[in-house]
Amino acid sequence: MPQASSISVLVVDDQLTMRALIRNALQQIGFKDIREAPDGEEALKNLLAKPANLVISDFNMPKMDGLALLRAVRSHPPIRQTAFVMLTGRADRELVQRAVQFGVNNYCVKPFTVQGLRDKIEQVFGQLT
């Protein structure tokens, strides 16, 4: 069983409040290595400079949205294996289907609970300790 504390995470969201809430939820689950980026462009730079094990990304963002970030991650060999969880709104069914085509590992519908986010991450990594 993987340890949450050994998994590095990059949180990508253009709203500071939402990044703080996601970080807080991840900390409650046990994650310790958590970085943040305000949009897809910054996230890609961040990942290329220092890869992460998991990206949790919003969809609607300026400059580069979540779907474009996912495609960019999957097209850069050094980081293409990064686990990618997309945060979506309830009405974004079409988005989820496109994200699946581009290789998303899972998605989480906002507003989420800590347990809901944990479940989604565990579906990718297995049960976390």
Binding site: L21, P111, G116
Partner: protein, 191 residues
């Protein structure tokens, strides 16, 4: 973007869009006026004056959110999502984040009780907007009355009337149950 209740008001010479709890609506139409009635709920009216786009949401935190964005509670996540829906709707219609300005209303304490849910809701909205760098150019929160609010999204004009609790609509005196955070119902099955 949700806004199901449309009607035409001859007196206002405008199309009225009633925004109820859990909804948000965005418009670039100068003939639209958004209306809502608030008790302890909050309505944020946010617009980009330069782009001529504005919108209103109407939400109630599921429990006593304490206004601390970093507390990580379900209530705060729900509120942040309600604000995000409105802001994303504005950005999609041409608004720029750095030009957004807000007016907030509601957060009243309509009944005697130990907890002041309205104050928690108002504190959340103020904290959220401050953290996101969106200036609050006007607000009317707290007090012991319900509020009828009309918002013209293009000009930013607002008209507010205070309503005694006994005269407030039933949905204000007894707010609708809060939608629960996302369950797996209706999800696409990836695993």
């Amino acid at each position: 973007m949700i806004g199901r209740d449309y009607s035409h008001d001859d007196e206002l010479r405008a199309t009225k869009v009633h925004v109820t709890q859990g909804e948000s609506h965005v418009s670039t139409d100068p003939n639209v006026v958004m209306t809502t009635v608030l008790g302890s709920c909050i309505a944020a009216c946010i617009r980009d004056p330069q782009a001529g786009v504005g919108g209103m949401n109407h939400f109630l935190l599921p429990d006593a959110g304490d206004g601390r964005g970093g507390s990580g509670g379900d209530a705060v996540r729900y509120g942040a999502y309600a604000m995000e829906l409105l802001i994303n709707g504005l950005l999609k219609k041409g608004a720029r984040r750095e030009r957004l300005e807000a007016k907030i209303f509601g957060g009243g304490k309509l009944f005697d009780s130990l907890s002041d849910v309205g104050a928690s809701n108002a504190a959340f909205a103020e904290r959220f907007l401050r953290d996101e760098g969106i200036p609050i150019v006007s607000s009317s929160v707290g007090g012991v009355s319900a509020r009828r609010v009309e918002f013209w999204p293009v000009t930013g004009r607002v008209r507010q009337r205070l309503v005694a609790v006994d005269n407030a609509p039933q949905e204000v005196r007894r707010p609708a149950p809060i939608p629960q955070p996302a369950s797996n119902a209706g999800d696409l099955e990836l695993f």
